[in-house]
Symmetry: C2
Subunit: 435 residues, 2 copies
C-alpha cells in the first residue's frame, strides 16, 4: 500500500484528499460492505454515491447491457434517455417539467447559475457561509466551506444558516426562542439582498443544500427556507435547490430535500447518488425557464443523457422503488435518532441528534454539551472517526468546526447493519470518552 | 419516432440539438455500424466519442467487470486509477507528469483555466475566433463558434486562425505566400497580447484545438502554433492544448495533436474519446504546476478517477495499441487524402483535402473553387450531408460558414469501410453537383 501511495503521489499528486491517518485501500464492495486489500471488511457508514448499495447487481447489469448495445450522444434520438427523463420528472412537483442531463453536480450547479443569471439579468448570488457546491471556476467563487484560491466574488453575499441545535460558540442559536432566530436570520437575508442591490449586482439566485450538511446538518427554524425563497424571488432571483446531498430519498421524509421545507424551487440540481457512482447529474426546471435559455444558448453536453448513463439512472429509480429504500431510510432514520439520543444521555459531551433520515450525526464537544463554555472539539471528533475506522466502520466529520460526526450510509443499509453501526459508535464513544 | 420526438421535446425540450432534417433514432451499434429503429444500418463516418468502435467488447467488459467489483471516489486508495494514470502519462512528453481526472472536456478546460489564471496572476485569455471548448460559465465567456448568450468576456481576445487552404472570402490566405501569412498571423497574436496587457488583464493562457476543427480544419503555416506558444509564454501565460478532438491518435501522425505542431503544452485537456463514451476527461500538467495549485485549492472531483472510469480509459489504451489504431488512422488518412484529391478533380466545386488522419473534409463552394469570387456554400454542403444520410453514411459539416464536410469516423474503421465511405461520398457529390 505504501508503494501504491507513492505511485499515486507520483501521478495524481499529493493534494487529492485521502481519508484517515493511514489511508484505506479498497478492492471490492457490495451492499454496505467494502473489502480492503488485506481482505478485511468495513461497514460503510459514510458513502452516499453508491446510493442503492455498492455494485448493486441491477445497476451493474443495466450499465453493462446498455454499454454493450449502444452509447451515443443526444443528437440522435434514443428512447432510453427519454424514458429516464419521464421517470425522473415524475418524482418532482408538476412545475418542474424539464430536465437537462449533465455528468456531475458541478456541471449541474454551474449550469443552474448560467440559467439564473440570464433569467434575472442580475449576477448577485446568495450562498451559505459554509458550503460547497462544486469545482468549476464559477462555483469556486462561491465556495465558503473549502479552500478556493479565487476567494469569494464581489457578486456573492454569504448567509449564516441558523441552527436551533447549533454549537455557535459566539452564542448558540438554540439558546434563543425559535421565532427570534428566524427573525434574525431573515433580517440577514434582507440585508444581503439590499447589499447586492446597492452594489448594482442585483439578485440572480440563492443556492443551498436542503440538509445544510456541510454547515453541520443545521436544524433551521420552520419557515426559514420558505422566507429565504420568497425574499429572493421578490428581488427577481431564482431559487436553486442543490439535491446532491438531500435528494433521491436520503432524508426518508421526502424524495427531495426541498419538500421538507415546503418549497418548490425554480431549479433543482442533482449529482452524486443519481447514477450510483456512474458519472451522472442533471438540472430540473420549468419549461418556461428552458424556453428562455434554450434559444439563446447552444447548450450541448456530449456525455449528458447518453443511454448508458440513462440506464444507470433508471436502474437506481427502479431499485429505490422495488426495495422501498426511501421508506426504509425513514424507518432507519427514526431508530437512529432514538439511539443517538440515548448515546447522548450516556456521553454528555456529544450533542443532540442532528440530520434527517440516513444523513445524521452529533456535535462533539470538549466537555458536557450543557456546560457553559462548551466548545466543539474537532480533535475529539477525529478521534471518534479513527476509533470507528479501527473497528472497521467508515464515518467522517463535517461542520464549520469539523466537529460534527458525519454518518451517511448507502440507503441499502439493513436494520441489523444500522444496529452494528450504532453499537460500534457506542464503543468508539466509550473509548474516546474514557481517555 | 414522431412520438419519441414529442416525448423528447416534452422532457428535454426542443433546444437540445438533433442532426438531420428528419432525426435518426438508433437502437444499437458495433464497430462503425449503427442500426436504426427500422433495422437499417448506417456507416458511422462522424462520431469520435466511440473512438475504438461502438460497444467495443473489451471496453464494455472492462466497465462491466469493474462496476460489479468496486466503484468509489479517490479518497480511498485504489490501484486501478493509479495504473491508468501511469499508462496515460506514459503517452505524454516527460514534462507532463501529473494528471487530474474529470468527467468531461468541459470540466477539463474549466480546470485548466483555473490553474492558468492562478499561475499567471492574470486573467486574459487568447482564443480562436471560431471555436468551442465547453459549456461551463467560464467557457461560455470564451465561446466564439456557437451561440452563447454571455458574449465574450472583457478579458478575452480572439485570434483569426490562418488557413493556407482557406476559403476566406475577404481574401484567401492561400493566395499569399506562407511566410506572409505566418507573419500576419503572429502580428495579430502580438497585438492581442498587447491589448490584454494594456487593458490590465495580462495573459493567463491561450487555449486551442490542434486540429482547428471547429474553424474548418485550418492548415496553419509551419511555425504558427510554435510562435503563438512562445509569445504567450513570454507574456507570462500558459499554453493549453485541448486534445478533445485531436488526441488519442485521431491524426494518425501522433498520439497527441500538439506534437504535430512541435510543441509541448503546459496543460493538455482531454474528453470525448478518452473513455469511448464513458464520461471521462482529464488535465495533464507538470508537477510544478500542480504543486502550485494543489496547496491553494481543495480540488476534489467526486466521480473523477473512479475505478470504473479508469477501467474504461485503460481498455481504450489497450485497444488502441493492440489493434494498431493510430497507425491505421495514418494509413487510412493517407488513402483518404488521395481519394479526396481525386474527387476534387472530378468535382471542381469542392476544395482541397483538409484535416489530418481520420478527421478530414473538404470545403464546398458555390462554383469551381478556383474561380474568382467562389464562395463557401453551406446549403450545398448540407445537401451533401443529407445525400450521404440517405445513402446511410453519417457525416456532418463544420467551419465558419458551415461549409466544410466533417468526416471523423471511429478509429476502428477498416479499409473496406473507408472505401465505402468514399464511394458513397462520390455518389453524393455526383447527385448534388448534378442538380
Amino acid at each position: 500500500m505504501t508503494d501504491l501511495l507513492t505511485r499515486r503521489f507520483d501521478t495524481l499528486g499529493p493534494y487529492s484528499p485521502l481519508f484517515y491517518d493511514r489511508p484505506l485501500e479498497f478492492v471490492r464492495a457490495e451492499g454496505v460492505w467494502l473489502t480492503d486489500a488485506h481482505g478485511d471488511r468495513y461497514l460503510d457508514g459514510y458513502n452516499n454515491v453508491p446510493h442503492v448499495g455498492h455494485a448493486h447487481p441491477r445497476v451493474v447489469a443495466a450499465i453493462a447491457e446498455q454499454a454493450a448495445t449502444l452509447n451515443i450522444h443526444t443528437r440522435y434520438l434514443n428512447d432510453r434517455v427519454v424514458d429516464y427523463a419521464e421517470r425522473l420528472l415524475a418524482t418532482f412537483d408538476d412545475a418542474l417539467d424539464r430536465i437537462v442531463f449533465t455528468n456531475s453536480g458541478s456541471e449541474s450547479n454551474d449550469l443552474a447559475f448560467r440559467i439564473a443569471t440570464q433569467h434575472s439579468g442580475a449576477s448577485g448570488i446568495l450562498i451559505s457561509d459554509f458550503s460547497y457546491h462544486g469545482h468549476t471556476q464559477a462555483l469556486a467563487r462561491v465556495t465558503t466551506g473549502l479552500r478556493a484560491h479565487e476567494g469569494l466574488g464581489p457578486h456573492v453575499r454569504t448567509l449564516r444558516i441558523p441552527d436551533l441545535d447549533g454549537a455557535d460558540v459566539d452564542g448558540p442559536a438554540g439558546a434563543q426562542p425559535e421565532d427570534a432566530v428566524l427573525d434574525a436570520a431573515l433580517r440577514e437575508v434582507d440585508e444581503a439582498i439590499a447589499s447586492l442591490q446597492a452594489a448594482g449586482f442585483g439578485v440572480a439566485a440563492v443556492l443551498f443544500d436542503s440538509l445544510f450538511s456541510t454547515e453541520g446538518l443545521n436544524r433551521v427554524p420552520e419557515g426559514y427556507v420558505r422566507g429565504l425563497a420568497e425574499r429572493v424571488r421578490r428581488a427577481g432571483g431564482l431559487v436553486i435547490a442543490d439535491e446532491v446531498q438531500s435528494g433521491f430519498g436520503r432524508t426518508g421524509r421526502s424524495f427531495w430535500g426541498h419538500r421538507n421545507h415546503g418549497i418548490v424551487p425554480d431549479l433543482v440540481t442533482m449529482g452524486k447518488p443519481m447514477g450510483n457512482g456512474h458519472p451522472l447529474g442533471g438540472v430540473a426546471l420549468p419549461a418556461a425557464l428552458l424556453d428562455e435559455f434554450g434559444p439563446r444558448n447552444m447548450y450541448f453536453n456530449t456525455f449528458g443523457g447518453n443511454p448508458v448513463s440513462a440506464a444507470a439512472g433508471l436502474a437506481v429509480l427502479d431499485v429505490l422503488a422495488d426495495e422501498r429504500l426511501v421508506e426504509r431510510a425513514q424507518e432507519n432514520g427514526r431508530a437512529i435518532r432514538a439511539a443517538l439520543a440515548q448515546l447522548g444521555a450516556e456521553h454528555p459531551w456529544i450533542g443532540v441528534p442532528k440530520g434527517d433520515g440516513l444523513f445524521f450525526g452529533v456535535e462533539v464537544y470538549d466537555r458536557p454539551a450543557a456546560d457553559a463554555g462548551a466548545r466543539p472539539d474537532p480533535a475529539r471528533t477525529k478521534a471518534v472517526v479513527e476509533a470507528m475506522r479501527h473497528r472497521r466502520v467508515l464515518v467522517s466529520r463535517i461542520g464549520r468546526h469539523d466537529s460534527v460526526l458525519k454518518m451517511r450510509p448507502p440507503l441499502a443499509i439493513e436494520a441489523a447493519e444500522v444496529d452494528l453501526l450504532l453499537a460500534t459508535l457506542a464503543d468508539a464513544l466509550a473509548e474516546v470518552g474514557g481517555r
